[in-house]
């Protein structure tokens, strides 16, 4: 008597291959993609079709599992632990458990264990920590002393140690909304905890509406702290401010570009610098320790006001923004929006120093001689 699964006819996936009675693992996935596209439903249908056509002995399941683990990223399911479990459950229960202790030692059923380890490796690469359900599945299928279980134990031990190592954590599932992404990135970039993040969309500002139909509306996400507003308010009108960019910033695997509003750093010799730091150090080391004593008084040369975080050595940062489109018109709109809270910006000359984010990279690539020792 044939088992029940064989009584049911598998659904017609590909008419040309119908006569053969079975499909190869690649063919199953390509047939499914034609029917349902690269979706979760399609993936589960592929697994179910394979289960039905392979029957009792589940012939060729290692080849199918290898293909399915590779396909997970194509289907954008690589961050879903549920799907890994579904693939793992294709291994038959109790079949690969070594009967004796001696056989455990000698890598019992190596090809099957390799395929199972590959699934766990794929999880590790995508930052997924396996749970107790996977542990039970491994125990039922490969025993507690298998290489698969060791791999699982290593992953649970080490990955949970480093899961929270990042002091500026990244959302594991980054939001699809570009504005939310930009907000998170700007929040991460700004060192001043008082930074306020403003969002201007087409609802608030008319200039940001799309000119043609079918185009997306533009948006501006801008970050500025009260301290930076003070810096703009006291900015001398004869010195320009610069809009610089675009530069890349990553939030996990999501990539964005940002612009910076900045001025030149305060000049040396002005009240911001007492003595240049290098000079100070040299002065300190030029004396021998022998001649130094506790009673040598330090001479104070100037009262130096405390510098704010925004005064970096290569420029004072006044604001940052991430925009929907990198055009100069959007940046002008950004400045106009900033003028509401920074009235002094109207009196200051603004210079645009714009370049593509890949500009340096392209320059370097064009100046490399191909081949030959460096």
């Amino acid at each position: 008597m044939p088992p029940d699964v064989l009584k049911k006819k598998p659904p017609k996936l590909a008419s040309t291959l119908e006569d053969r009675g079975y499909l190869l693992s690649d063919e199953i996935f390509s047939a499914v993609e034609n029917m349902k596209g690269k979706t979760e439903d399609g993936f589960t249908l592929a697994i179910e079709h394979y289960k039905r056509q392979s029957g009792k002995y589940r012939r060729g399941h290692i080849e199918f599992i290898d293909t399915a683990t590779k396909k997970l990223k194509d289907y954008n399911l690589h961050q879903d632990i549920k799907m890994y479990k579904r693939v793992f459950s294709l291994f038959p229960e109790k079949e690969y458990i070594p009967p004796t202790r001696m056989m455990e030692e000698f890598y019992h059923m190596p090809r099957h264990q390799d395929a199972a380890i590959q699934i766990l490796q794929e999880m590790e690469d995508n930052g997924l920590i396996p749970d107790s359900e996977i542990r039970d599945m491994i125990k039922d299928r490969f025993s507690e002393n298998s290489e698969v279980m060791y791999k699982f134990q290593r992953m649970v031990y080490w990955m949970s140690k480093f899961a929270n190592a990042n002091p500026w954590p990244v959302p594991y599932h980054p939001p699809d909304d570009r504005i939310e992404l930009a907000k998170a990135a700007l929040r991460r970039m700004s060192f001043d905890i008082n930074t306020k993040i403003d969002v201007w969309t087409a609802e608030n500002v008319e200039d940001l509406k799309a000119e043609d139909e079918g185009e997306e509306d533009d948006f501006i996400v801008s970050a500025q702290s009260p301290e930076q507003q003070d810096l703009i308010a006291t900015h001398p009108t004869d010195k320009p401010v610069y809009v610089e960019g675009r530069h890349y910033v990553y939030l996990g695997s999501a990539r964005m570009t940002y612009h910076v509003l900045r001025t030149d750093p305060p000049q040396e010799g002005s009240e911001f610098y007492g003595i240049a730091p290098d000079e100070k150090e040299e002065e300190f080391w030029s004396d021998d320790f022998d001649s130094w004593n506790f009673f040598a008084a330090e001479e104070q040369t100037a009262i130096v006001p405390e510098k704010s975080i925004h005064e970096q050595e290569d420029g004072t940062i006044l604001s940052m923004c991430i925009t929907g489109s990198p055009s100069q018109n959007t940046l002008v709109t950004w400045l106009r929006c900033l003028q509401d809270t920074n009235p002094n910006l109207e009196n200051v000359a603004v210079v645009f120093k714009l370049q593509e984010p890949d500009a340096i990279l392209n320059y370097a690539e064009n100046h490399v001689k191909e081949g030959g020792p460096s």
Partner: protein
Amino acid sequence: MQLLKTSRNILQKITKRSSLPSVTQVANAGGNIIIHNPSARGEGYHRDKEPFSRKDLEKIPVYLEEKSELYRRRFLYQDDYTFPFHRSYDYFWKFNSAEKLKAWILTTDMDNKEGFSKAYLSLSKSGKALFYGNLSTKVPEDGRVKKAGYCNMRSPINKYGYGYGKENYYNWTAFNHIVMRFRGDGRAYYLSIASDNGPGFGSDLFSSDLYSYPLFTRGGPYWQIAKIPFSKFYLNTYGRIQDRQEPLRKDFVKTFNIGAVVDDGPFHLEIDYIALLRDDNHDEVTAYEMYDLRM
């Protein structure tokens, strides 16, 4: 620190006088941009080493002179790290000129034809090191390589101390933290220290051992400072973390590496300095469990 500085300067003067090629002179051939420039044949990493030739024999008297000079000054350079105190520091590398960049070696997976990543190192606008490039996780279709995508910059090996042009280790026993000032793009980079556990140069038994820890960046125009204790660096071999961890041997440090991995796309990391710091409040040897529960 005073002693530390003087003895090192003397060593540098000795090597200059004996017309040995210094670290910076060796890698002086390129242009202003330090380029990762793999040869078309994919020869691997150690292209800069030349085979032994007759010319090397001529250098022997120079080496002898240097060795005798070192012997005469042996008490001076022994003092290098004998007086460490709380908060004492030393710049391992301060990137402030093009000369300082040229000693570093860039490697990517393209070197051995195992990928398509490209990396460059050049002086940035603010006069610091800029490590940038394009990371590609595309796997070459040779049926052998499974994963691809890394770019790495490697520090030079210590050339001072032994004489005869023999490579020495860095001795970091006086310090317990690594401090970096940098400006990144929001990615995580990998710091790794190659350290010998005893066999020495020439032995490849432990050549793939690395002590690594990620360097997290925030992105944006602000400079960041990271202070990472050596105790947090974990032992890994061929990129695989090891079950049995061992604390880092700080007196046998060969090289210090900064690498970009994981995400596809262009990356840039601007580095001001890499420094070593002694903080007596931190007395941890390693952050990981050392006991063994196996039978």
